[in-house]
């Protein structure tokens, strides 16, 4: 359990986001975005919708079967009424020597409608029951967990593994409130405020604020952002970052997340309580929590393709 949480695998992010809204920087970043709640809610909704769709699918299948007359006749019906009605229809049609096929089809459709209604009602009811049962189960589980904490101390029965495990975790959490593994301390990040300036520039309004929050030099973050985005920019008088090019909040957030992963959180214990030191041309990340110290990748913008107007470039250099 603890191990799962400490793994910082970008590929896991999406799943985690849906399952456990409170974990990871990811989630912290998304806080205040509401998008998270939307995600989880929509996830539940999807499940419900899926159920409904299943119902519809069932109905559709019935429809398909019933349109093929022979199959319909062979098909056993659950209610006697329907059977009787069917027989009536059969009798009538056989009396007419099967000349009025159209009529029969219409009758079939009637039956079909009956079917649909009944089936739907039944399955809906079932679903509801199931959901209610699940809710009950969950409630019971919760009660059990609560009970474990209380009842286990009074009696002298053997404690279960679950109880012991819970007890161990409870004690761990009590003793170290800011333990990284247990309840997972929240690394609160405010989302970057990204505003468009005209058609070609983007403002990152709370850039300096975020630098302060991460305890990093604005220049370092600036270098990283510009290198990653492959563009240029600068901090203006209002301490906001102006970036050349059009970027959305989501995109800046992505880059920030990568910055945090590489240059803020400890690579060993993931604690954000770290110091970035420059030592002989290399940056080292020193962790205040576990004491680990490791070098981090230097920021390189690497190859930059020429995207500005070449004529203007030539005029400048010539």
């Amino acid at each position: 359990m603890a191990e799962d949480e400490t793994i910082f695998d970008p590929t896991l992010k999406k799943k985690k986001k849906k399952k456990k809204a409170t974990f990871d920087i990811d989630a912290a970043l998304a806080e205040g975005n509401d998008s998270l709640d939307g995600n989880t809610l929509s996830g539940e909704n999807d499940a419900l919708v899926a159920n409904d769709e299943n119902d519809d699918a069932n109905a559709d299948i019935d429809l398909d079967f019933t349109k093929q007359k022979k199959k319909k006749k062979k098909k056993p019906f659950s209610t006697d009424d329907l059977e009787a009605a069917l027989n009536d229809v059969k009798d009538e049609t056989s009396g007419l020597e099967g000349t009025n096929q159209d009529e029969e089809i219409i009758d079939d459709n009637f039956d079909l409608d009956f079917n649909k209604l009944k089936k739907k009602k039944k399955s809906k009811k079932k679903d509801l029951d199931e959901i209610m049962a699940e809710v009950d189960d969950k409630a019971e589980d919760k009660e059990n967990v609560d009970d474990n904490a209380i009842t286990w101390s009074g009696s002298d029965r053997d404690y279960t593994y679950e109880e012991l495990l819970n007890r161990a975790f409870e004690i761990m959490r009590d003793k170290n409130p800011d333990m990284a593994a247990g309840k997972k301390q929240k690394f609160v990040m405010r989302p970057p405020q990204v505003v468009k300036i005209g058609a070609k520039k983007t403002s990152f309004a709370n850039f300096t604020e975020i630098c302060k929050m991460l305890h990093r030099q604005p220049k370092h973050l600036l270098d990283f952002l510009l290198a990653e985005l492959g563009t240029s920019g600068s901090v203006d008088g209002n301490s906001q970052l102006i970036i050349k090019g059009r970027f959305q909040q989501k995109q800046i957030e992505n880059v920030l997340r990568r910055y945090i992963k590489e240059y803020v959180t400890c690579h060993t214990c993931r604690s954000p309580d770290t110091i970035l030191q420059k030592d002989t041309r290399l940056f080292f990340l020193q962790c205040e929590t576990c004491g680990s110290r490791c070098s981090v990748a230097s920021i390189k913008s690497g190859f930059q393709a020429v995207t500005s107007k070449r004529a203007a470039m030539r005029a400048k250099t010539a």
């Binding site: 990653e228 985005l229 970027f247 959305q248 989501k250 880059v255 690497g302 190859f303 393709a305 995207t307």
Partner: protein
Amino acid sequence: MSIQNLNTFDPFADASKGADDDVQDGLVHIRIQQRNGRKTLTTVQGLSSEYDLKKIVRACKKEFACNGTVIEHPEYGEVLQLQGDQRENICQWLTKAGLAKPDQLKVHGF
């Protein structure tokens, strides 16, 4: 049973061609750059110079239906340049073609 010491494997084979290779950190950097409007450019830096980049670019152009070119850079060596955001495409293609392992690819940008 083979005796490892007697193998003709040269442990320094990599080193002889390494060093001044354009693969500085053994990583293939895939970057994106914005051009005017909503147009973008994808650059691939750090592919081994053993590969014929011209051949690669020809294949990529056909595969991704985009234009592309190879640029000779004094510091970074030959760099692949493709039109549009081809980061996903090129990652998949490079791994599929066996030109780079997934953990060698470093994708930059948003």
